[in-house]
Amino acid sequence: MAERLVAIGRSGDREAFAALFEYYAPRLKAYLLRAARDPSIADEVMQETMVMVWRKAAQYDPAKASAATWIFTIARNLRIDAFRRGRRPEIDPSDPALVPEMDLPADQAIVRQEAESGLRKAMAALSETEQQLLQLAFYEDLSHSSIAARLGVPLGTVKSRIRMTFAKLRSSLEKSEDEGR
């Protein structure tokens, strides 16, 4: 999928875009339905997301994220615009006051994709409770205090479980990044 996104960004490849749509549109709709409930609104925001994927494809950098992760961030932002009143403050990559990172060598792209697949293995190995917690945080658009209320546990417990789960995932990601180097 990463190659397809790159092809869309480079040459406006409509065939690659149609293939991307076929795979991601139903997944985006499932994601958006968690917040929208109304299927026609979920369809609308899904279309909005796919149009944005097309328009932003030239900005996609496979060294930084898989196609799924990049598309998720676009859908997440449009979901916030559509369903919540607050804005989502974000960094401005062109801001001269941004402290830049070191340039990644070209083969880091492969490393990143491999690292993400390592992360996926680690996520599949999480316990059901841990997976449920991440699902609530990422898909149901619940704050940690709402998650605590939903699960009937104290807020501190939710926070520490999320920290532990993320630490576990992060260590697997960093490990596979190191191995890929």
Partner: protein
Amino acid sequence: MSIRHHVSDDLLVSYAAGSLSEGWSLLVATHLALCPRCRSRNRSAEAIGGWMLDCAGAEPVATGSLASVMARITDANPLQSQQRGCAESTPCSHDLPEPLRGYAGGELAELGWRRVGFTAARVEIKTGDPETQVRLLRFPPGMEVPEHGHGGRELTLILFGSLHDGGCVFERGDVADVDETVEHTPKAGPETGCVCLAVTNSPLRFRSLALRLVRPILGI
């Protein structure tokens, strides 16, 4: 510059998921602008969302969706990729990074600082988030912030100078994260003073009765 105190994982995961409210998100995003390491952590957190997009199910889309999107992209202009920030060797003219600069409405020196007590000053930052209070605070060199506890959580991002708290020194980009269990007396750096972004979800509780009485005057 090396940042030693970073945003915690629970904030970063909420921010990546898109469920963190605007006030806290402003501080997290401003820290990310100053901290490449946390931008990489943030990408790892976003990868959880990517994984879910792949694995957490699919729903049939409305008929004609593809045709309608294909028609729309024919007219849509691609957005060009953006430039990178200035190299570390080039001095930057901004003392506030985005997104904070836009929220504050200018550079530190241009803002409408309001006196707090005799020597400190503050600028209220408006957000659409009713859950948090967001403000810039400026303390003169060596000033002690009166000992206080918290009814909730307080995040402080240092933007200029330093803040000394419980044996730790916080400098530009560092985040101090305290909750209701902490009572502390932070102190501004002896030479530089301190300017910071403070986000709280409840008013501070000062311990001494006298300080409680002046709190409405201090406005913190």
